[in-house]
Structure formats: structure tokens, C-alpha cells
């Protein structure tokens, strides 16, 4: 059995500021197998984008990795010098961001950006790179790819731009793509097209995907496994169907219940009162305890680690064997 493609162990990211240090990611551990699609879901500020940024080595200062390690294909990448990381990025790990307009340079034609990216990562001649660019655009479903190469990003619609960004991410033939809210800026009918495209291309190219989104529907349709984040930690991780249909962590239960569903009628949505804590005021014990309807004694005292809970793993004392809670 091959080892994991990406292995994140006890990752900790901090932001040092004038008024003390904020811990934005705390003890994050997960793995992505080759070809697997892992969804990372959570509300704004949970740390999901930050996790993605840490993996591709694009944390904005003063944010920095202060603990744990990130291994890609067995090789440690969190402490690589800038130049070496630059070669990993794009070649081994591709990235797709939310806003397709800001991921493309408005002053260069789409073709030039594609050819530049391809030639940075692959030993191809200019003509071969161009052929490859046309092929990539065709794969992403852009009609008249040949002519489109000569156009600038502003001549593309939002959905078409995101297709170009996907083509760019695939240009170096990476084994992993970190996609941070790739469909959030798009209309629903375009969203579905882009998700289907992303899933098909990654399968064709054998690339694994880390799909960061706040949209549980997108996760349900696309991913194999999902990690739920809350206040800088993973609170539950497991197969998509299990997390959606039998969530084990009270936060996941609340999150699922607050989504209006298409196939059932409820007078009121389940609501989690309060809001996610700010980074400078994360409660002691389990960070979710002040909002948790099922909190009990140990929750305010000790922080739970991920533990087996049904068919998922959840960081919640409800699922601890009795003696461990008492200890």
C-alpha cells in the first residue's frame, strides 16, 4: 500500500503581533492519499484557508509555521528555502483560488501565462508548450481554444476565467491541487460545471485534491473524505457520507442542521447560538464548549483530541471511553 501523498502532523501556525501571539492553527493533523479528494469545511475564520496556505508555503507574514510538519511524498516541505518551495509549488502542488480575476495577470494574454507556467515546470520547447496550452484549454471545456490563447483575462467571463485557472493549476502536472473556494465567486449554474470539471480532470490526471469550501453541498458531491474545522482545529474527520448523515461532533450536528435542505420542510432551522470565538479569546478546554448543547464537566477543562466516534473521528469528550474522561 502506498503511503499518503500529503501528511500534515501537529501543524501549528501563529501570528505574532504587538499585543501578543495568536494561535491560528493548533495541532492540525491529516493525510491525503494519492488521487483522493479531501474536503475541508468550516465557517469564516475556522482556519481552512490558512491550512491550505501553509501547505503551499504561501502564509502571509507575520503568520508562520511554528510547530509540526508537512510532508509531501515523504519529503518534508514546511521548512524548505523559498526558492526550493517555489519549484514544488506549481510542479508538485497546484493551487486554485477563489477569485479567478485576481489569480490571472490582467496585462498578459492567457496563452502567455499558460506557456510561461508550463515551461517553468516542464522541459518543453515554446511550440510544444503552446500545443500543451491549447490542449489544456480544450480539456477544461473552453471553445475555440486556439483563438482564446491570444485573449486577455478581461475578455473571459467568470466561469471561463476559472477554467483558465484550473488549466494553469494543472499545467505543471501536479500530484496535489489545493483548491480554495474555487466556486464561491461563481453563479450556481456555473458552479456545478466547474465542480464537475475539477473532479473529472483530477481523476484523468491522477491528481489528489484538497478542496476548501464553506459549502457542504459541494463537499457532498465531490469529496471522498471531509475534515470539519472550528476555531483553528479539526473537530471531525471521516468519510463524507458518515460525516453528513451521522455526524459525531455537536458542532458538525449543528452545522448540518443549519443548512436549509431541498428535500424536507422545517419551520425553523436548527441554530447554533453565538458565534465562533475570536483567536484572542478561544475558550479553555474544547473551543466549542460555550455554544455546545451537550457540554459537560470535562469540556471546560481539557481539550479533546480526535478519537474514534462511530464511523468518523471526532474531537469530543462525548465519544471518549469512560475512564479517559475521568482521568
Amino acid at each position: 500500500m502506498p503511503g499518503p501523498l500529503l501528511e500534515v502532523k501537529n501543524l501549528r501556525v501563529e501570528f505574532a503581533g504587538r499585543r501578543g501571539t495568536l494561535t491560528a492553527l493548533d495541532d492540525i493533523s491529516f493525510e491525503i492519499a494519492p488521487g483522493e479528494i479531501l474536503g475541508v469545511v468550516g465557517e469564516s475564520g475556522a482556519g481552512k484557508s490558512l491550512t491550505g496556505a501553509a501547505i503551499i508555503g504561501l502564509l502571509d507574514p507575520p503568520g508562520r509555521v511554528v510547530g509540526g510538519e508537512i510532508r509531501f511524498d515523504g519529503r518534508r516541505i514546511d521548512n524548505l528555502p523559498y526558492e526550493e518551495m517555489r519549484r514544488v509549488r506549481g510542479r508538485s502542488i497546484g493551487a486554485i483560488f477563489q477569485d479567478p480575476l485576481t489569480s490571472l495577470d490582467p496585462l498578459y494574454t492567457v496563452g502567455r501565462q499558460l506557456v510561461e507556467t508550463i515551461r517553468t515546470h516542464l522541459p518543453l520547447s515554446a511550440a510544444d508548450a503552446r500545443r500543451r496550452a491549447v490542449q489544456l484549454l480544450q480539456e477544461t471545456g473552453i471553445p475555440a481554444a486556439e483563438e482564446r490563447l491570444e485573449q486577455y483575462p478581461h475578455q473571459f467571463s467568470g466561469g471561463m476565467r476559472q477554467r483558465v485557472v484550473i488549466a494553469l493549476a494543472l499545467a505543471g502536472e501536479p500530484k496535489l491541487i489545493v483548491a480554495d473556494e474555487p466556486t464561491t465567486a461563481l453563479d450556481v449554474s456555473i458552479q456545478a460545471q466547474i465542480i464537475a470539471l475539477l473532479r473529472r480532470l483530477c481523476k484523468d490526471h491522477g491528481a489528489a485534491v484538497m478542496l476548501i469550501t464553506h459549502d457542504m453541498g459541494v463537499i457532498a458531491e465531490t469529496c471522498d473524505r471531509v475534515a470539519v474545522m472550528y476555531a483553528g482545529r479539526i473537530v471531525e474527520v471521516g468519510p463524507v457520507a458518515a460525516v453528513i448523515h451521522s455526524p459525531a461532533h455537536p458542532y458538525t450536528v449543528g452545522l448540518m442542521g443549519s443548512i436549509p435542505a431541498m428535500d424536507e420542510d422545517r419551520a425553523r432551522l436548527l441554530q447554533i447560538d453565538g458565534a465562533m470565538p475570536r483567536l484572542n479569546a478561544i475558550p479553555a478546554g474544547c473551543a466549542f464548549n460555550p455554544r455546545c448543547p451537550r457540554a459537560f464537566a470535562p469540556c471546560t477543562q481539557r481539550r479533546p483530541d480526535l478519537m474514534a466516534a462511530g464511523s468518523t473521528r471526532a474531537a469530543c469528550w462525548l465519544h471518549a471511553p469512560a475512564m479517559q474522561v475521568a482521568a
Binding site: 465557517e43 450556481v188 456545478a192 465542480i195 453541498g217 441554530q271
Partner: protein, 343 residues
């Protein structure tokens, strides 16, 4: 379901249209021989909303749903058509909307970070409509008593949306997105309106916060008998809040139906496409056909039915003749294929 007046109807909209002039500047038009250009943002939209119910308008960006919202509250003047509010023409004599009507309808905007003045305390934000409409004027105008009455009213309003009266002394930046949207709702409720126009009120919020805001809006509707026009692109949210749903495409309503009917039996091909496009968490195994194509440029919309280039059922008639919104089995649909019984 027709646009004729009935006792229960609070808002009636007839043949509403808004055209924006997006022509190049005069000098460019003359020098480069460019013609004038117009966008028909809203074209011939008609609906009625019964008292105490919610009409939701859904559609993708650029379909004109927000323009309808702005036309209703009077932020835009319609190019054609009229809005009748409780039997009174909202345009009023000389095109000036009467204060009595303005007070009875309010709006909640999408972005709670942009719709609250960052330099004002919540107290002043929520009290502004009271002062603007002179709702403090019937009270003794001599300073302190009026002020304390207004403060008491602001406290009540904040409490009704689940905030504390003490929050009135804070500034918007001290609140989270969901709390800010509650402040917007409190401000909208200040004049005791009967009709609230909500333009994507939860789109900027996280799902758990969205649930809080939607629940508050539902509770307020039950308590005060409010009527809502709810604009959204999220069909799951629409299904949760609405009684009637209008689906818009390129400035027109293509289907208008009761909620149950629209979701159980969508008629227009665009409605079907939209419903098919929503990723649904409970139906992850379902095979869906992703929608084809994109919304055309509203500057040069297709002739005939504007949906015809993306429609799997389009024929020659669809390409030349624009379909009217016709009654069909309780829903109103603008589609030749439905009218001819082809689908």
C-alpha cells in the same frame, strides 16, 4: 394568481421595467460613431404579494432581481410600469413617493459591512428612520424626554432581533457579520413597516449565522404579520423562507409559482436547470447534468426567448418569438415548449 387587485394583496407590480443608459460618453459616440446603448435590466415584470406572505425572486447575477428590489422601495424610478402598495400608486403625484408609503416599506441590504455607517453608534443607526420620519415629533420635542423615548424604542428594537439594549452604545465594528445584519433588521423595523424588501440578506453570512438570521426573520414575520420580498440566488434558502417564488432570467420573470409547486414540478427549462445545479448534501449520489453554457451579455440578449441558446427544447419559434408569461395549471410560465405541451 393573476395581477388583478384582491383584498389580500399588499403589493402589486404591473409591467415594471427599468432601462439603464450605458452609452459611451457623447464625444466618443460622435468620434467613434458608436450608437447609444441600453440595458433592459428589468423588463415587464408583474407579480402580487399577499399580506403576510413572502415572495422570493431567484436568479443568477445580472438577472435583474436586485433592480426589482430597488424599484419597489423607490431607490430607482421605473422606466415603465407601476408599483401599487396597499391600493395606492407608490409613484405618487408628480412621481414623488408619499412619505406615508415610504414609512411602510423598508429594505435590508446584502452586505452588513457596507450598509451600516462605521462612524455612527448603533443607537443612531437604528434611530435614524425614527427621526427621519418624524416619529419622535408627536412626542414632546423638548430634548430629554424625546431622547429617552427614542432610546427606549431602540432598546426594544434591538431586543426584538436578539441583541442587548446595551449594544446601542457600540459601533458596528464591534459586531460580527450576523450581528450586524440583525442591526440592519432592527433599523428596518424602526418605522414599523408592513413590507420588507430583503436583498440577499444572508448571502454574506456563514451557514450557522444564516440560520440565526433566517429564524429571526421568520419569527418577526409571525409576530408582526410582515410581508417580504426576498431576493436570493440560493434555492435552498428560498425554499425555506418563501410562499411564492419567481424565477428571473435576463430581466424577466420566466416562472412564477407557489413554492410547493415550483420545487415539486418545475415547468420552465431554466428553473429545471437551476434546480438541477444545486449541490445537495442529502443527495450526494444523484447523477446530475450540469447546466450548459452561461448567461448571455445583457447588452445584446438573444432574440425570441432569451434562454433559447442554452435550452435543450428550443425550436425555431423560441428563436424569434418572445414567450409571454401564461397561466399553466396554477403556475405562470413563459415558455413556448410548455405552452405547446412539448415538455
Amino acid at each position: 394568481m393573476s395581477a388583478t387587485s384582491s383584498a389580500a394583496a399588499l403589493v402589486e407590480v404591473e409591467g415594471l421595467a427599468k432601462t439603464f443608459d450605458v452609452s459611451a460618453p457623447w464625444l466618443n459616440r460622435v468620434a467613434e460613431r458608436k450608437p447609444r446603448q441600453f440595458v433592459h435590466a428589468v423588463d415587464d415584470v408583474a407579480f402580487t404579494i399577499d399580506r403576510g406572505t413572502t415572495l422570493a425572486l431567484v436568479g443568477e447575477s445580472g438577472c435583474g432581481k436586485s433592480t426589482v428590489a430597488r424599484l419597489l422601495v423607490g431607490l430607482y424610478a421605473p422606466t415603465r410600469g407601476r408599483v401599487v402598495f396597499d391600493g395606492i400608486d407608490a409613484a405618487g403625484p408628480g412621481g414623488k413617493r408619499p412619505d406615508a408609503i415610504r414609512r411602510r416599506m423598508q429594505m435590508i441590504f446584502q452586505d452588513p459591512y457596507a450598509s451600516l455607517n462605521p462612524r455612527w453608534k448603533v443607537q443612531n443607526i437604528v434611530a435614524e428612520p425614527l427621526r427621519e420620519h418624524g416619529l419622535g415629533a408627536s412626542m414632546p420635542t423638548s430634548g430629554t424626554e424625546a431622547r429617552s423615548r427614542i432610546a427606549a424604542r431602540v432598546g426594544e428594537l434591538l431586543a426584538s432581533v436578539g441583541l442587548a439594549a446595551a449594544d446601542a452604545e457600540k459601533y458596528p465594528h464591534q459586531f460580527s457579520g450576523g450581528q450586524r445584519q440583525r442591526i440592519s433588521i432592527a433599523r428596518a423595523l424602526a418605522t414599523q413597516p408592513e413590507f420588507l424588501v430583503c436583498d440577499e440578506p444572508t448571502s454574506a453570512l456563514d451557514v450557522s449565522v444564516q440560520a440565526q438570521v433566517l429564524n429571526i426573520m421568520k419569527d418577526l414575520q409571525t409576530q408582526h404579520g410582515l410581508t417580504y420580498l426576498f431576493i436570493s440566488h440560493n434555492l435552498a434558502v428560498v425554499r425555506h423562507v418563501s410562499d411564492q417564488v419567481g424565477v428571473m432570467y435576463l430581466g424577466r420573470i420566466v416562472e412564477l409559482a407557489g413554492k410547493a409547486q415550483l420545487f415539486a414540478r418545475p415547468r420552465h427549462p431554466y428553473t429545471r436547470m437551476l434546480l438541477d445545479a444545486i449541490p445537495d448534501i442529502h443527495m450526494s449520489g444523484r447523477a446530475r447534468t450540469p447546466a450548459q453554457g452561461e448567461v448571455p451579455n445583457p447588452l445584446s440578449p438573444p432574440t425570441g426567448c432569451t434562454f433559447n441558446p442554452r435550452c435543450p427544447h428550443a425550436n425555431e419559434r423560441c428563436r424569434v418569438e418572445r414567450p409571454a408569461l401564461l397561466d399553466d395549471d396554477g403556475t405562470r410560465v413563459a415558455c413556448h415548449a410548455v405552452e405547446e405541451g412539448r415538455i
